[in-house]
Symmetry: C2
Subunit: 116 residues, 2 copies
DNA sequence: TCCTGTTGCTACTTTTTGTGTAGCATATTA
DNA sequence: TAATATGCTACACAAAAAGTAGCAACAGGA
């Protein structure tokens, strides 16, 4: 059984009253949710393509994440497979800076020398 | 046993070679990771305060998340309990816009009327 | 029409995570 | 000394994810 889909206004992890930010964190804080959005930012992908580009995601989980992301208006199916909706693209705009940030984070990672 | 801590450069979910963005998504895509960072943005909190403000988080998980966030340089312990490091505050700066966005998302949520 | 390949899944078993509750050891304050 | 807070650890249980198999629907092509 898929876990319940986080909806703002309904109880979610972190908020019995469903504060939107907590509903969003519940949605995004599930395995592969962020990864799927990241992959789809490059354009529509089929289920199988997503499976390949997200190494080691199981079809069960991928299907659950896609269901959740569709029901929350972030992803939709169309030509060429799954794609971000306008809402999803908005979300990606917020997510995009994490790419560059993660690289700087990696460089100064505790125990890493800044790679010469 | 706590799950392994995602480190850029080491294999993580989504990337055998540990692409930084995938390591970051692995770190943040665990339950309560985003919520903890969000809570700590208001200032340092004790373990118990975090437990209370994150409704329904179990101490086991909270402790695991804090360990991971500390070892990845996002959170540290100091006066007044746990607090974001400068790195953690940087991360929060990227996260902050999600607050406002989530409210708009809630308003036009599939099945919600834009509240009059 | 039969074969071959692709796609989007579902089913199932095993392993990993998270929940929920209890409670302990170490301060701190009265 | 007792009461309180703090930062946990230890379970027993439940939920989620991994890993693998395979099926139904469709699209060519021979």
């Amino acid at each position: 059984m898929p876990s319940s889909i986080p909806r703002p206004g309904a109880p979610v992890r972190g908020s019995a009253s469903g504060k939107p930010i907590m509903a969003l964190f519940d949605l995004l804080g599930r395995s592969w949710a962020l990864g799927v959005i990241w992959q789809l930012s490059n354009g529509p992908m089929t289920f199988r393509q997503l499976q390949e580009s997200c190494e080691s995601v199981s079809p069960t989980v991928l299907n659950n994440r896609l269901k959740e992301l569709r029901e929350t208006g972030v992803v939709a199916r169309g030509d060429g497979g799954y794609a971000l909706t306008p809402t999803g693209r908005e979300l990606f705009v917020l997510l995009e800076p994490f790419g560059a940030w993660s690289i700087r984070w990696a460089e100064r990672f505790p125990g890493n020398e800044p790679s010469a």
